[in-house]
Structure formats: C-alpha cells, structure tokens
C-alpha cells in the first residue's frame, strides 16, 4: 500500500487520528512496536473532564468532550461511557474561590455546572467526609474504559482501509520516511508522531518528560460513589512542576470498583510502585473518604504521562521538516482530548480551516528550558 500518512503510535491519539484521516479517504498506516492501546492509554483513569491550564487546552478539552458526547450512542457497550459527571471538591476558602472562577469559565463556555453547598454535597455523596465547604458539579463530564475506546477507533479506521502494523518499531523519521528497527523503511508524504512518551526519541527537540502516576483499584465490595470526585487542589498538582505531588481523585467504575488516584512524579521511569508515593496518595484519599482504609485494594499500578514544560500538548506541523507532524504530550488529558486532537490535526493536515486556534499547541513554539 502506498500510504498517504504514516502514524507512529497506536495509542488513543494515534488511533483517533487514524479514524479521522481514514474516514476522510486517506490511505493510513499505523505503526506500533507493542500493540493497540498498550502503553499510557492502557494505564490511565479514562476520565473525560473539562479541565485545562492554558485557555487553548481548555478549549481543546471542551471541543473534545462535545465530540465524545456526539458519538456516545455509537460507542460499543464495552467502552463503558458513563456520564457520571465530576464533583470538584472544595476543602477551604481558597478552593471555594477557585471553584467560583472555574464556574464562571465553564458558564461562559457553555459547560453546565452547579455549586453544591456542604449539605447538598453530603446528600449527594454519602461516603465523603463531612467537613468540606462544598463542591462544583459538572454533570456532563464522563468516564470511559480507554483500552476499548482505542480498539473502537482502530476498528473504525480499519473499516475505512487503515492498515496497522504491530511489532514494528520506528527509530527515525525525516523527509517523508520512517526508518524501522529491523532496517525497513516506510514512506509517506505525511508522517505523524503520536507516540506519547516515546515521541522525544523520534523528535528530540520536543521536550517531553514522562510523569509517573500511581493508581489503585478496589474490589467491588465497596460503597457506591456516584460522581467522579476530584479535589480542587488537583489543578496545582497537574499544572505545577513539583518533583512529587499527589491530589485526590476517585472514579466509580461500572463494575462497582473504585479507581483511586492520583500522583505525579518526574524522577522515575520504572514501572515499580513507590511505596512512599502510593501511601501519600492514599492518605490524601482518606482525607476525603474516611472509610477508604478499610476498602480492599485489588491492584495498584503505575503509568507514565507524557508531559511538556508548559503542560500544553504538541499538535501540528514541524517547521523544520514539513513532512513531519506531531500529536503528543497531553499529560493527563490524553483520553479527554483524543477526539479534539484528532479533529484538529486532521483539519491541519487536510488544509481545512481548523475550528480551534492551534497556535498555543504548535510544536514550533519556543519553550523555556
């Protein structure tokens, strides 16, 4: 097959993009050394959340959420799309102010939101600690099961003729050519690197650091939680560049299990659990869910978020080599923004007027080291 576009990376970004481009009639070839949705896409929480430090990222997230909602009824049941909404928890006056700011931003952007005072919060979520100031409810946020979402995108792409080559590792990209570890080559006028944390191996000038996170899932013998719960302090953890930070985040899964997070650290690329960080994360969880320590932990694991210096992804065309494109560096918003990222990059590649302003996400932007 003479591909029009080669996508390096079959995670959620690569597969969503493959679906878009193949759906528009391009001949798409996707390469991945491990499989479909096997790395970061398989390890995260799967939240679809209205969140973004930079206004451009928030806009990308909001556009993405709209696209997710539009395709909700076409998603297979095993993607487990649940519109449980997000409850942003306020523990103190600072949090309350932050919540008000967020509420204004959301309202201006047409995102439904509602403030719950302490009493309403207690009625909504009985498992929560009772000394919180209140919560900001964003009902249209959702939760999905990412591995099956990635498969769904890939299957749609394949149905439009996209070809997936698994077990194939790219070692360099330049001038419309991908060189492979086994010595082979693939050529196409457009090459997109959507390789998550491995992106900087192929495009070294794009600063990307893996940011390790811990997650823990319980058995199903736990009380019911109805919303995704996130503490407002999550903003500081995600957007800051602290070496180690934790922020409370819990997500109900359709099986009745609870998925508990979150942690962020830069210093460590191994898959090993770090007891001190895991412990700190769980202790933070206990502050919001007093009964947490009794619940049975089934499994804990780690994943690596691809993180850029300004917490904004790289989406766009490389100025130094017009055959090269990139869609990577989404930190904790890869699942959320997969749909919007795919749409934006597809618009850029096909020369259509992009709906969103991609300047802030250009890979050519100058970044403080």
């Amino acid at each position: 097959m003479n591909a029009d576009v080669i996508i390096v990376g079959a995670g959620i970004i690569g597969c969503a993009l493959a679906e878009q481009l193949a759906g528009q009639g391009m001949k798409v070839c996707v390469l991945d050394r491990a499989g479909i949705g096997q790395q970061t896409s398989a390890s995260g929480m799967g939240h679809l959340v209205a969140l973004g430090d930079h206004p451009a990222v928030l806009a990308l997230a909001l556009r993405s959420l709209k696209l997710w909602r539009e395709r909700q009824c076409k998603l297979p049941d095993n993607v487990e799309y649940v519109s449980c909404g997000t409850l942003w928890l306020a523990s103190n006056a600072t949090d309350v102010l932050q919540a008000q700011e967020n509420a204004e931003l959301f309202t201006a952007a047409g995102v439904r939101n509602e403030w719950l005072d302490a009493a309403a919060l207690r009625r909504t979520e009985a498992t929560l600690v009772t000394d919180l100031s209140g919560g900001l409810r964003v009902p249209d946020d959702a939760v999905i099961y990412p591995p099956n979402a990635v498969l769904h995108f890939a299957e749609n792409a394949m149905a439009c003729g996209a070809r997936f080559e698994i077990g194939v590792e790219a070692v360099s990209v330049a001038g419309g050519e991908v060189r492979l570890a086994d010595g082979g080559r693939r050529r196409a006028p457009y090459i997109v690197v959507a390789a998550g944390c491995a992106t900087s191996r192929l495009l070294p000038e794009l600063k990307l650091l893996p940011r390790k996170g811990h997650l823990l899932i319980t058995t199903a013998q736990v009380p019911r939680i109805h919303h995704q719960l996130i503490e407002l302090g999550y903003h500081q953890s995600a957007q800051g560049q602290d070496p180690v930070s934790v922020a409370f985040n819990v997500q109900p899964r359709r099986t009745g299990q609870l998925l508990i997070g979150s942690s962020r650290q830069f210093d460590d690329e191994s898959a090993d659990l770090v007891p001190a960080v895991l412990s700190r994360m769980l202790q933070r969880g206990q502050r919001f869910l007093p009964e947490l320590p009794r619940w049975p932990a089934l499994r804990a694991w780690t994943g690596l978020r691809p993180c850029t210096p300004d917490n904004t992804p790289y989406i766009g065309n490389l100025a130094r080599d017009r055959s090269l494109w990139v869609a990577a560096g989404h930190e904790g918003l890869g699942i959320t923004t997969a749909t919007g990222t795919a749409e934006l990059l597809a618009q850029q590649i096909c020369g259509n007027t992009p709906l969103l302003d991609g300047a802030a996400m250009s890979p050519n932007r100058s970044l403080a080291a």
Binding site: R33, A34, G35, I36, G37, Q38, A42, N78, P147, N148, L151, G167, L216, T218, T219, T255, I260, S270, A271, D272, L273, P275, A276, L278, S279, R280, L282, Q283, G285, Q286, L292, P293, R294, W295, P296, A297, L298, R299, A300, W301
Partner: protein
C-alpha cells in the same frame, strides 16, 4: 485515623509458607542458629497437605498423618520454647508487597512489615482448574479443594460425590471423602492405563509412596475407577445435580451427584517468585520486550527451570523450596526445605548431601508431569459460552477473539478480577497457549490501610543479627 506505620518484625530468615517445605526449612535453619520467622496465610501451620493436622496435634497430642507427626510436634516444641526461642510463627499472614531487598509488607489479621536477611519461598501449589460447561455451579470444586474444605469442617456425609481430573491426588481425595461418610460414586482419571502403569512402575524407587498408593487403592477399591475418562459437563439449577462423562473409547454416560470434585493436577504458586525478582533486570527486559514475554523474563530472571533440584535463585539470599521447584509431593518438599535452609547458613557438606537426596526425586517429578499430562480433549472441554475468567465472567468466546493474554485482559477484563488471573491464567495457557501477564502487588486483595501504612518500610534499617525475632506465636 489509623496508625501511621505498621509494626516491623525482624528476623534473619523469613520462610514464606508453612507446609512441609517451610516447616522443614524453619526447623533446619533454627537448629543452625538462624532466627526464623515462619509465615502462612492460614491460621495454623501445615499448608494444604497437612491441613487440619496442627489442630489434631493441639487437641489430641498426635497428628493422624505419619509424615506430619514427624515434623509438626517438633515445630510446636520449637514455638513454645521459652529460652532461646528461634522460630516465630505468624499465621493468617500473606506477603503482599515488597519494598526492597530486605523488606516486605505482610497483610492479614494484623498487617506488618518484615525485615529479613534471607528469605525462603515455600508457597506451595494450587490446583489447575480448567473450564468446562457447568464448572461455575455451586458444588463444583477442586478435588484437593474439597478435601481441604472437609478437613476444616465442611460436611459431605451421605453426599453423592464424583471425583475427577488427574493425578495421584484423586485417589487420596476419594479415600478421604469416603472416610468421612461421603458416597463417592466414581473417580474419573483422564490419564490412560498405559500412563498410569508407566507411573506406578517407577514408584519402586520410593517405597513410602508405593505403600501409600497401595493403601489408597485398597481403601477405594469399591469406588468405580474410570481411566482415560473425564467429565464433559456439570448440570444443575442453582447447584450441581449431575455430570456427564466421556472416555477415550467414545463411551459416555451421566451420573447424578451433589458435588463434583475436579482438579487437573497442581501448579506452583509462582506469584511470590515474581515479587522477589530483581526489578532492575525485569525492567531492562521489559523495555525491549512486549508485555507477553515479561512474565517469561521475570521467571527466567528468578528461577532456572521447572524440574531442577536447585533451590537457588538469581537473587542472592532468596531461595525456593517445595512445590516451587516443580510439583513433587511432601517428601521431596521436606528435603528441599532442609536443603534451602542449609544453603542459608552456608552448610556446604549438608547441602551437597541433601542435593543428592533431592536429585533422587527428579525421576518422580518428571514422571508426574509426563504421565499425567493433559490430553487435548480435556484442555478444550470449554465451549464458546463457557465462563473462562470466573471473577469477571468473561467467556471463552470473548477471550478467543484476542491475540494474547494482555490484549484479552485489557479488552475484556479477563484476569483483572479478585483472583488476579490465578485461575484463568492456567486455563488460558491450556486453551490458547498464552503466557499470563506478570504479577502486580498487592499479591492478594488487601485493605488499603496496609498500603497506606507501608511507607514506613523505606525508613527501616536492615536487621542485624543482634535483633531478636519479634511477633506473634502459637
């Protein structure tokens, strides 16, 4: 608010698993001067083979099992010694997580951190439970599984029971169930007469086993014993009421029963091994390997091979004993436990002598694996709508659509349930030839507070030989 940190127990030698291998290892090491902490997930020592024997010892002064009687009283005496006590036993204790080379987190009735110099992994074996239509019905259990349940008080008096699967265990199970008043209506052994003959004909090297086999065959002489036969399905409403069987000649039939005790041999509890593999070497292999070969890499990183008599692992100070060396029964387990303990104190002469004894058992281990190997028919009893992963109710058909264990796991949640792939892992191996995913901590579902409190391990100093063994004891 929970306590900020777990209590720390110190020892020279941690022995994980108090079955025959662990008990022998603990006693041997203690006799050589080691301060030993012996732990087991059960409340009493004995493991599976000697289940219930400790209770008999405590209540009546004797174990009914002759081999247990040679070891458990000595353990009891050692635990009760006042002066210079060298062994502490901690029951209802599972090692769930490891921090570094000298500390693990243990869960159980009281969670704790254990700081050790050396460790012997003697976690034993579990039954291979293969899927077949109706296997999830209440009343369908493992063969060894039913035996241990009965030893701990479950009553099968007057019940019609079919015993099935493969291995010498089936006769022992049938005999023991019959002795408690059950009506064992048939034993279905999938191995052929030729295989059974080949197996028994090499037993002359192991006189004790000969006597045992003869004794069991005599006790079960009235029970219809079908060879080259297997159960094709179990039927019933909310519990099992009957089974269908078939044999290699094509003959088939049906039997009413209220229990089916079916186990297809034993397999090592190897998850513990993965916990002790050197994470650096595993991660190095991981970065270049796909997930499906990680478990292989992990196993290779820690252990040479299945039938080897080598108690050493790739990690200094980490030893294995018992069924972790490959399924070989209690007597071999005891020798391996003694050998591992000898190695921990560098007793070279004793080690060599035990190595010789251990190697005598290699033929038995091979014969067991070879003569009771599963025939294809039995591997493929399950049909597409048969549940494969019990915990997540994933069917064979749903799993079959994927290329390997990890892909199937991510897409269907197979192996992500409470047993963390222990049951379906073997089944996937037999059905599809898939290698299961690598083990993650915690090794068993554990209260979150255990993981919250275990951050203290990084601050724990490696124990010195002047520290006393601390903790509970019987």
């Amino acid at each position: 608010m929970f306590d900020p940190a777990l209590p720390t127990l110190h020892c020279d030698l941690l022995v994980i698993g108090a079955g025959p291998a662990g008990v022998a290892a603990a006693l041997t090491a203690a006799a050589a001067g080691q301060r030993v902490l012996l732990v087991d997930q059960q409340q009493d020592p004995g493991g599976q083979i000697w289940r219930g024997q400790w209770r008999e010892l405590v209540q009546s002064g004797r174990c009914s099992d002759a081999l247990a009687q040679r070891w458990l009283p000595a353990l009891r005496a050692a635990l009760q010694a006042n002066a210079g006590r060298r062994i502490v036993f901690r029951g209802a204790c599972r090692v769930v997580h490891r921090s570094d080379n000298h500390t693990v987190v243990a869960d159980g009735e009281q969670a704790a951190i254990i700081a050790y110099q050396q460790v012997i992994l003697a976690a034993g074996a579990r039954e291979v439970l293969l899927p077949f239509p109706g296997w999830t019905l209440p009343g369908v259990t493992g063969a060894g599984g039913l035996q241990v349940m009965v030893k701990d008080g479950v009553s099968v008096h007057g019940q019609r029971i079919v015993v099935a699967g493969t291995g010498p265990l089936l006769l022992a199970v049938a005999a023991s169930l019959q002795a408690t008043g059950a009506h064992v209506v048939g034993i279905f052994e999938q191995a052929s007469n030729a295989s059974l003959l080949a197996f028994t004909s090499q037993l002359w090297r192991y006189p004790a086993l000969c006597w045992q086999a003869l004794g069991l065959r005599w006790q079960t002489r009235h029970i219809p014993w079908h060879t080259a036969s297997w159960i094709t399905s179990a039927e019933g409403g909310e519990t099992v009421t009957g089974v269908h069987w078939r044999n290699a000649q094509g003959k088939h039939g049906q039997l009413d029963c209220s229990r089916l005790a079916c186990g297809y041999g034993l397999t090592e509890n190897s998850e513990l091994l993965a916990l002790f593999a050197d994470s650096n070497s595993v991660n190095k292999k991981r970065s270049t390997a796909t997930e499906t070969s990680v478990r292989a890499a992990t196993a290779d990183a820690i252990r040479p091979g299945i039938t080897t008599a080598d108690v050493a692992t790739a990690q200094p100070g980490v030893w294995i004993a018992g069924e972790l060396l490959g399924i070989g029964g209690a007597r071999r387990a005891i020798i391996s436990g003694q050998r591992a303990a000898a190695e921990t104190v560098g007793a070279a002469a004793q080690g060599r002598q035990l190595q010789g004894q251990l190697q005598r058992w290699n033929r038995y281990v091979s014969a067991l694996a070879q003569q009771f190997a599963l025939r294809d028919k039995v591997r493929h009893l399950a049909i597409d709508n048969t549940v494969l992963c019990r915990c997540e109710a994933v069917t064979v058909g749903a799993a079959r659509a994927h290329a390997d264990f990890r892909s199937a796991k991510l897409a269907t949640r197979l192996g992500m349930g409470a047993c963390q792939g222990r049951i379906c892992g073997s089944a996937c191996q037999q059905l599809f030839g898939w290698r299961a995913d690598h083990t993650r901590a915690p090794l068993a579902p554990t209260p979150i507070r255990t993981l919250m409190q275990s951050a203290g391990i990084e601050a724990v100093a490696v124990s010195s030989s002047t520290k006393r063994v601390s903790g509970d004891s019987e």
